[in-house]
């Protein structure tokens, strides 16, 4: 009898605590969205975060973009030349980068490079009781610490995704045109004929904005609600990468189904 009640109370506790977690996360997201325009007034803090999240990610993003472009060029050519349409290489490289790989791979790299840094920074601030000290001085830590980082991530991520796609297309061009010898005119004209500015490039930008919001929010959430111990910060950092990667991939499916299904 007591075994049944223990089991029941365990189920009840886990349901109640997960509901509480969802509620806290939603409240934090709401406060961040409300406080973001306020944080924009002190643009100094936001621009420091853009520097920290964006500029430092530029190297890894552009190098990865270049190599992804190289690989797309090689693999795409291998399949296309079987059907005698290797001129469509530019279209293949551009569409796969602009629609999918640009936003998604950038978001995954961004989660690993910038999201972890955000979580660790805020987790350490919490364990060092800096956030509590701010509250004691009547400074809202969500407004002073979290909102500028949120905005910084939101601004940096679409720019990084655009850099990734552009560098990737140049990489595909380098492999396809310079190395393999696809006709340069056909490479660009097929690309321009098949890529729509609003449907493809525009939807890619919207995707990268959504992913930027997701990754930054998950990182801030994990940092803000982590256990203020060394193990807690370590666990929160790991969870940031796992959760934001999964969220990005799942959201990508939903967004693709909404945007590109016929």
């Amino acid at each position: 009898m007591s075994g049944v009640t223990t089991l029941l109370s365990r189920i009840g506790f886990s349901v109640r605590s997960s509901l509480a977690d969802i509620g806290e996360a939603t409240r934090l997201l709401g406060r961040l969205l409300v406080l973001s325009p306020v944080a924009l007034a002190r643009f100094r803090l936001v621009s420091d975060q853009i520097f920290f999240l964006g500029n430092y990610s530029l190297a890894i993003i552009s190098v990865s973009g270049l190599f992804v472009g190289f690989v797309l060029g090689l693999q795409g050519y291998y399949t296309l030349q079987r059907y005698g349409s290797s001129e469509a290489l530019g279209l293949l490289v551009a569409l796969s980068l602009v629609r999918e790989l640009g936003p998604v791979v950038t978001a995954l790299l961004f989660a690993g490079r910038a999201g972890t840094a955000l979580t660790a920074e805020i987790g350490l601030m919490k364990s060092g009781e800096q956030l509590a000290a701010m509250e004691m001085m009547a400074v809202d830590p969500v407004q002073r610490v979290l909102a500028p980082r949120f905005l910084g991530g939101l601004i940096a991520m679409p720019l990084l995704a655009a850099v990734f796609s552009a560098v990737g297309i140049l990489g595909g061009w380098a492999v396809g045109v310079l190395l393999i010898g696809v006709d340069a005119g056909a490479f660009w004209s097929q690309m321009q004929g098949g890529v729509d500015v609003f449907k493809d490039v525009g939807n890619g930008v919207i995707k990268s904005m959504v992913f930027g919001l997701t990754v930054t929010f998950v990182a801030l959430l994990q940092g803000y609600f982590c256990q203020p111990t060394p193990e807690g910060v370590a666990r929160a950092t790991t969870r940031t990468v796992v959760l934001s990667s999964l969220a990005v991939l799942a959201l990508d499916f939903v967004l693709t189904a909404l945007m590109f299904s016929i």
């Binding site: 643009f43 100094r44 621009s47 420091d48 853009i50 520097f51 964006g54 500029n55 530029l58 349409s85 551009a94 602009v98 601004i155 940096a156 679409p158 720019l159 990084l160 655009a162 850099v163 796609s165 552009a166 560098v167 297309i169 660009w188 690309m191 321009q192 004929g193 890529v195 729509d196 500015v197 493809d200 490039v201 890619g204 930008v205």
Partner: protein, 160 residues
């Protein structure tokens, strides 16, 4: 607001991102092909449009002079109605004919407009009556096979 040493680099980052977006829009997406020229709308009826799609090009002598805007099915005449926007600066005779052509052997389909000889020009809302449907590969093959069969059945009859 005091300046910070980050300002230069943040500015550079934002500019690089903007340049990348511009590159995607202009070089990959060909934003320049979006024209804001004044247009006039005409329509044409086809028995079969094959694989023609909205936003396909309307070309005359190989030069793009307009775009297909809308394709619908007319359940009175059981024909396809193709509406297109022609650029205002290009006027065509009223008895011009349109046909559905294919770029390359397996390329995408587009409309070719061939000027007629009439004095009057096409105006907004006009319907082009002289049309030529898309070439459907299956029909071609079946015609070819039918002719072959006809030849084969005629040939023995001639011999005796």
């Amino acid at each position: 607001m005091q300046k910070s040493r980050h300002d230069l680099w943040v500015g550079l980052f934002v500019v690089i991102g903007a340049v990348a977006l511009l590159f995607l829009a202009l070089k990959a997406g060909n934003l320049l092909s979006l024209s804001f020229e004044p247009v006039y709308r005409v329509s044409a009826r086809f028995d079969n449009i094959g694989g023609l799609k909205a936003r396909a090009a309307v070309k005359s002598a190989g030069v793009v002079v307009g775009r297909v805007t809308h394709i619908s099915f007319d359940d009175k005449s059981f024909q396809a109605t193709v509406e297109m926007e022609m650029e205002q600066r290009f006027a065509f005779p009223k008895d011009s004919s349109v046909k559905i052509l294919t770029a390359g052997l397996l390329g995408e389909q587009y409309l070719g407009i061939e000027p007629g000889a009439a004095e009057k020009t096409l105006l907004a809302g006009d319907v082009i009556t002289q049309t030529q449907s898309a070439v459907v590969l299956e029909t071609l093959i079946s015609q070819f096979l039918f002719n072959k069969a006809a030849d084969a059945s005629n040939a023995p009859a001639d011999k005796p």
